[in-house]
């Protein structure tokens, strides 16, 4: 599938790559504030399922989202790889629980293609695009959208479609 080049200018973007359910995801490093090990999370009553609670980050109270729950994946125990990525979005800071943080890599914006249109029932505005690096596929999430909607998401679908792309290649 032809990549739709984003803008006229080909910029270099740095991505923080994390894994979830064996899939690789990327977040623009400009949005990432820090990466911390899991810590005590205080439950927030009445919040959606995927909101794990809040933590104390050097005196600030930050909400934490369990991405696995967000994508309705089975819950697993934290491993020593599990991390919380603190990102900055419009309303403030949020932490994302991920399976592991792999690396920070550079990618050209020209290597980022639009998300495939055929993700069943899933609004593509939740994805910023798919990055291709060698034979890796990085799913770039639109964090604002992801965290502002209650809508149920199924990661399986995302994976299948992206994987479908992979197979296609």
């Amino acid at each position: 599938m032809a990549a739709i080049s984003s803008m006229a200018v080909d910029k270099e973007i740095q991505l923080v790559v994390f894994t979830l359910y064996g899939e690789e995801f990327g977040v623009d490093i400009m949005q990432v504030k820090e990466i911390i090990k899991p810590q005590n999370i205080t439950r927030l009553p009445h919040a959606p399922e995927f909101v794990a609670g809040v933590i104390n980050l050097r005196g600030d109270v930050i909400p934490i989202v369990d991405l696995r729950k967000r994508f309705e994946l089975a819950k697993i125990e934290n491993t020593d790889q599990t991390r919380i990525i603190i990102v900055e979005i419009a309303n403030g800071q949020v932490g994302l629980i991920v399976d592991s943080v792999a690396e920070v890599l550079r990618i050209q914006s020209s290597s980022i293609g639009a998300a495939p249109a055929n993700i069943a029932g899933l609004k593509t505005n939740l994805l910023k695009g798919i990055g291709k690096l060698d034979d890796r596929l990085l799913i770039l999430l639109d964090l604002e959208e992801l965290l502002s909607t209650d809508e149920k998401l199924q990661l399986r679908q995302v994976v299948v479609s992206a994987g479908g792309e992979r197979d296609e290649k």
Partner: protein, 686 residues
Amino acid sequence: MEFAQARELFIAEAREYIQTMNDGLLKLEQNPENQTLLDEVFRAAHSLKGMSATMGYESIVALTHEMENVFDRLRNGTLVLNSAIVDVMLEGTDKLEQAVMSLSESDDGATGFSEDKYGDLIQRLRECSGNSEVEYRQVQPGQRSIPSGGNRITLDEFETEVARQAVERGSSIYEIHIVLRENCLLKSVRVFTVFKTLEEMGDILKSNPPAQDLDEEKFDREFGVIVISQKSGDELRAAIEGISEIDSVDVARMDPANLGASQAQARARAQAQGSLVGTGKPEVKAESKPGNKGEAGASGSSEKIVRVETERLDKLINLVGELVINRTRVVQTGKDSGNAEHQSAIEQLDRLTTDLQNAVMKLRMVPIKQVFDRFPRMIRDLARSEGKSVQLVMNGAETELDRSVVNQIGDPLVHLIRNSIDHGIEPPEIRRQKGKPEMGTIRLEARHEGNHVVVEIEDDGAGIDSAKIRAKAAEKGIVNRDEAMKMSDRDALKLIFSPGFSTAERVSDVSGRGVGMDVVRSAIEGLGGSVDVSTKVGAGTRFTLQLPLTLAIIKALLVAVGDETYAVPVQSIRENLRISGDKTKTVHGHPVITNRGEVLPLIFLGEVLETPGYSRPEMGPNRTIPVMVVSFGDRRGALVVDRILGQQEVVIKSLNGLTWNTRDIAGATILGDGKVALILDVAAMI
């Protein structure tokens, strides 16, 4: 000073001057002969004019100039104040305020003089002062006008600084322009005499031409001197006029705010000169005594005040908040260490932190005066537009509150006052018939009471008729007719705070739309305060607001619910009880307890908060469970928890970054062990 900074400073000081003029005018309306006030408002206008001239704000200069003229005539008795004049002048202060406010966006409004914006007002102001442009320059017979724009003396930085300090110590600065007689011989001797005379009365800062040239008679007939003196301008003038061979003397008091050279300043000086010449009364008006606040505080206030950006203050307060939390941990570990010296050092640290915390909390406190200040004007305008006669009595304006509380009570208070004027105070004829004084009184009072600030708004108007309230409430369907009739008077009165309620026969401009009281109540309760009302038909109504002193740090009771720890603000807790199973009853299937004659439903926090794995405790006769009786306004409830852990001061942290439901939760705090504990929103639960 960078222009942006200068502008900020200008805006702040201009506001103070405008406020002084505003307040002064209102007071003068009741008391037109008060010389101190008249002098004060004149000085304010004069200072504002000078400042604006330095900044190049033409339109403000033009407007202030006209107002200054009127004030001048008022203060020297050639014009008597009446309500019509007050009206026009208040229009002036309003326009000034608008102009100053627009400055924070752009300079355009103030730098360009707009005939349509101000022309009409200026015309009316001129009619008041009886001045036209030409008349203004008129000089009394016998006094020659002094050439302006000629030998303006300018001060360098050092001299300006010296002058400013002198003003702070209570002196005034005068620019004295002296013209010697035409055929005067031995000019230098005259100059010497003048100098000697002036030095007996103050200090000479500078002369133009410089002393050297004066000595060598390198001048024509005129020279100027800048003098710092505690004497009055008239005294100085009289002293110099007494010297022989002096043709004319002009003494102009300088404004420390516009020392230093500038074209605009020269212009302003010229105008100021002209005005003083124009009034030229031989009588020495009793000037303010030296060291008087009025003179020293040319910028409007002689208190020692430092301006600090709120951002910096907030950072400081945050840090202290962190320190307070950390302190608890340190104290804890200190106790466990067993080392005596360690412990005493920690105790010391504990005391210091408490002191620091108290001091910092005071930083957030501002006097409620800032809010009260706008009321006299508002009441006057409202009363006039309603055709009523109202006076305002204010007490306790210096009472201090947390900054954020002060910011938020303005609107509720405005609404209550409007209600008072609209529905409370009767028109003069009716009041007369009732045997009341024609002028209604609204009393506004603020005072500290324990951990709260109490604000009362009381009027001597018609009072609230609870019968009317009941009827209206039933009509609006807020309660059904039976309930309405059965309610106690107190409860009926509280109905006015219900959403959608209004008893106004007609919806006036001001109030009566049925949204006001409800909004007032939620605003105050949102701050953690409460509203109460008491009234007597025919006599008047009193609203009592209770507000917390501070919002950022509160005392809370930590409780355990299942595995979770929550903080309950102590302010909401009325009592802590231990209830045994046999004391509970069931009403409509719901467990309740009786406490002080009231029936309270039991609220199981574990259920409300959906604590995982929670189940109601067994309620047998032999087991007691902890129950907290909490209240909000006049609602009461009984919260059931698993354990009460202890009382603690907590720093409230905001929960931002959340777009999801935070029902029942008012905020968060960080406990001594670094964990987050959520603060419960008691009001939402009962």
